[in-house]
Every structure is written in structure tokens, then in C-alpha cells.
Amino acid sequence: MPLPPKSLVFVICLLPLAWLVGLAAGNALGPDPGQSLVLFLGLWALYFLLLALAVSPLCQWLRLPALLRYRRMLGLYSFFYASLHLLAVATYLVGWDWVLLTAELRERPYMLAGFAAWLSMLPLVATSNNYMVRKLGRRWAKLQRLVYVATAAALIHVLWQIRSDFGEVLLYTALAVGLMFWRLLRFRRSR
């Protein structure tokens, strides 16, 4: 089965952003558009992170090892949406008010968890080009484990903010735990 070219996947991954821009331009983000923007971007950062984590298991289950070539792009897109999310938080929720920001970070640790998730993706992004992959070799593979830190931090960030209904977030958490569990099993079998 021929897989779509990377360029097509690249464009598809931009569709959520295009959708968001469309909503914003059409004044369809509701009476609190800043907040909607923040939520939308944060959710898509999480979706792409889960998608990137799902690539390896899918390769095995579908017997399609070629899927692996999309993994890096999905990871980078997660970082892309997470960065936009961070910018939106700074602009709309904190208003670039540094005093307010430090107060928020001190008093609302879920923000720190989110920031930690973003930070732990930075080394992965910095070493995502072919040159770095080759140069780091086995150490590069080890470094990739940071993605588990990022996922855990991102889920903590989301779980911490729930006011009363865990339904949706439990689904994401279950997915992430399932994907981690699969890796754990594989790791133990390979030993």
C-alpha cells in the first residue's frame, strides 16, 4: 500500500491551525476568543504528542514499518502547537505582565507542569535534524526518552486543571498509558 508523501502529511498537520485562523477571522471563537485559542492550541499539541507516540505500535500492528518516517514530523508539530499555545497563554491569559506571570507560576503549579513539558521537548527539537541524529548515535536514542517526561508533564498539566469532569482527559491518559505500556512490554521482551 503506497503511503502519502511527507509533504502531504505536512500540509494535513497544518489544517487545525488553518481551521483556528478561520474561526478567529470569522469571529467564531466565542465571547472569550483568547481563552478558546489557548485551549485549542494546547489540545492539538497533546493530540500530536499522542499521535507521535502511537507511530511505533501502529508500525507493528499494521505491519507498516514505513509509517515510521512520519514520526519526527508529528513530534515537531506537537512542539509547534505547544509553542503557539505558550505564546497564546502569555498574550491572552497573562498579557505579558511579568509580575502576574511569576505570581501565576508560583500559585498555579499546573502552569509549571505545562512549561516543563514544553522545556523537555526542546532538546528533542534541537537534535531532530539528520546531522544531530548521526552525530549522537546511541545517545540520541537515549535522549528520545525525554518524550515520556514531556507526555507525563503534559498530562499532569491537563489533569491538574480539571474542575469536575474527568471523562475526556481520562481518555487521553488511558491512551498515553497504553502506549507506554506497549513500550514497556516490548522492552522487557527484547531483554
Binding site: G30, P31, D32, G34, Y92, G95, L100, S164, D165, F166
Partner: protein
């Protein structure tokens, strides 16, 4: 010897004929709203909710806090951006799903430390009072706010009519529990122990600012805004202003409210708007006045008691507002 019995009902309480004759207007209004909902008309179409007759708020009432000259949040925004977890936790869920709610027939059960307990049909409650408009700020604990023109009657008038006993120190309110029509109550992962319960201290309930609202923007309440009857307490965070009330209990002891039960560290019984006391999830120093836009976020400073300090601060004199948040 002739002992004259005082009449059971004071003359001042007797409903005037003009109001009595108007009692059906509200009922037909509510029925029309329900019919529109049943037909699945979109929210925009239902903006044609039945008009109410009421005394409009006037600038002269600003000193009492009944009137607010700030720009009002448009009806469309008030009616599509709601926290009403009975219909889902997304702000758009109530507008999307509240059409399923049947608001006619509706009655309010009155229990506890009160001389006149009973189950009162909504029409009865409405026949007792003239409706008046109140333009209030509404400040949500999530750090957004609106300015809303409500229509209703003072809670104090209702309580006077029901005659709380001398033991009554608190008023407890309960929202309808009807999972068949309220999809949020069917959620398996919700931590809320339905039905939703809120409460006020007696002096808070008797304060002239405390309103039982049955309409907004001059028309009957849209379902998502707490139809057919809700509480509005403008100096407290929005979650105190309980929606779709079916029960009022007069109590000797302080009731445990829903949010207090879920997260006592985050939500206090008083929940007075206070920029100095932060909620663990949101700074309360500023708020986004809605509608905001991407280029004009409309962040403003939050005021103590939501700007009603002049009217209500005396209720809390001598109280440590940090401890009794």
C-alpha cells in the same frame, strides 16, 4: 367577648388585580420557549423569547447597585457562554444542549425553618411580585466577567412572604436533578454529587441586591441561563448564583455547597469576589470583560465585592475575608 383575629395575609401582601391578571403572560412565555426548544430551533431563533413586563433599571439606582452604566455584554454572548455543568463542562455545551430541558410545569419546594412551607408553582411565585430590571456585573471564578441586565424580583421579598422562623440562619438552594434532560448529570466521570446545591447566610439572602431572576434582556431566561428561575448574587463569584432552582430550604446550620464538597480549599462558602484572595487555579486580580477580542483582550482590574463594596461590605465587617473566602 369579641376577639378579633388578625387576617392571615397582610394587606400589603395581597396581589393587586393588575398583576394577577398578568400572571399568565409568564406562563405562556415559558411555554413558547419550551415549544421553540422542542422544535429544535437554533439559539438565534429562540432569541425571540417572550418579552416580560417589568420596571426598567434607571441610572438613579446606581447608588443602590441596581443599575450599571458599563457597556452591557450582548445577549448573544450571555446566552452562548455559560457554566452550567448539568449540560456539560464546555462553555458552549449549555447553549447546545439545554433545549432538552422542560421548564413547564415548574414548581419550587420550600422546606425547613419557615412558616409557610410547601410546593409553589412558578406561576404562584410570579403572581406575588412585580418584576424589575437589575443591571449587574457577573464575575466568574474563572476570571471572566459580563454585565447582564436581569429581570426578576428580590429574594428578600420572597423570603418575607414565606416567613422564615427565628431559627432560620441560612438559605439553601437546589437545582433540578433530571438526568434524562440534563446530559451532564449522566456523565460517568463527573465528580459532582448531583443535584447542585448553593447557599447564602440569611443577611446575604435578605440583601436588596440578591435577586431571583426569571429573565434577561427583557425576555424570559433562555434555558442555558438557568430557566425558569435562578438566583443572582452579584458580589459573589458566579457559581453562587445557582440556576434552575427547584428547592429552597431555610436552615439553622450552614449548608454544605456543591463546590465546597468537591474542593474545600478552592471554593469557600462565602465566595465573595476578592482580588486579594487568589483561587489556586486562577489569579483573581484581573478579569476578562466579555466580549473580549484577540486584538483587544479587555482585561480589567477586579474590584472587591465585584464593585458592590459600598452596598455589601458591612455584611462582613469584622470577618477575616482571607479565612472566610
Amino acid at each position: 367577648m369579641l376577639i378579633r383575629q388578625p387576617p392571615d395575609i397582610a394587606g400589603s401582601e395581597i396581589t393587586s388585580e393588575s398583576i394577577y391578571l398578568r400572571r399568565r403572560e409568564f406562563v405562556t412565555g415559558a411555554a413558547a420557549a419550551v415549544a421553540a426548544g422542542a422544535l429544535g430551533l437554533p439559539a438565534q431563533a429562540r432569541a425571540g423569547l417572550t418579552p416580560l413586563s417589568f420596571q426598567p433599571a434607571a441610572p438613579a439606582q446606581a447608588a443602590q447597585g441596581f443599575y450599571n452604566g458599563e457597556p452591557k455584554t450582548p445577549f448573544e454572548d450571555v446566552a452562548r457562554y455559560n457554566n452550567f455543568y448539568e449540560f456539560g463542562t464546555d462553555k458552549g455545551d449549555p447553549a447546545r444542549y439545554a433545549d432538552s430541558l422542560t421548564t413547564d410545569p415548574w414548581s419550587v419546594t420550600v422546606e425547613g425553618e419557615v412558616a409557610r412551607p410547601g410546593q409553589y408553582p412558578l406561576e404562584a411565585l410570579l403572581s406575588w411580585f412585580d418584576l424589575e430590571e437589575r443591571i449587574y456585573r457577573l464575575r466568574c471564578v474563572e476570571a471572566w466577567s459580563m454585565v447582564v441586565p436581569w429581570v426578576g424580583f428580590p429574594l428578600a421579598k420572597l423570603l418575607e412572604r414565606l416567613q422564615p422562623t427565628s431559627k432560620a440562619r441560612y438559605v439553601e438552594f437546589t437545582t433540578l436533578y433530571r438526568p434524562a434532560e440534563m446530559r451532564g448529570q449522566r456523565s460517568a466521570f463527573s465528580t459532582i454529587d448531583w443535584p447542585y446545591v448553593e447557599g447564602l447566610r440569611m443577611d446575604e439572602a435578605m440583601h436588596p441586591l440578591s435577586l431571583m431572576a426569571v429573565g434577561l434582556y427583557g425576555k424570559v431566561l433562555p434555558n442555558q441561563n438557568g430557566a425558569p428561575i435562578r438566583l443572582v448574587v452579584p458580589w459573589k463569584y458566579g457559581f453562587k448564583s445557582i440556576k434552575s432552582v427547584v428547592k429552597i430550604r431555610l436552615l439553622e446550620n450552614r449548608p454544605r455547597t456543591t463546590w465546597e464538597r468537591i474542593a474545600p480549599r478552592e471554593y469557600g462558602f462565602f465566595a465573595n469576589v476578592n482580588p486579594e484572595v487568589d483561587h489556586p487555579r486562577w489569579s483573581q486580580k484581573t478579569e476578562r470583560r466579555l466580549p473580549s477580542s484577540l486584538f483587544r483582550p479587555n482585561r480589567i482590574k477586579t474590584q472587591l465585592f465585584n464593585g458592590y463594596a459600598e452596598q455589601v461590605a458591612s455584611l462582613y465587617s469584622g470577618m477575616d475575608l482571607r479565612r472566610h473566602f
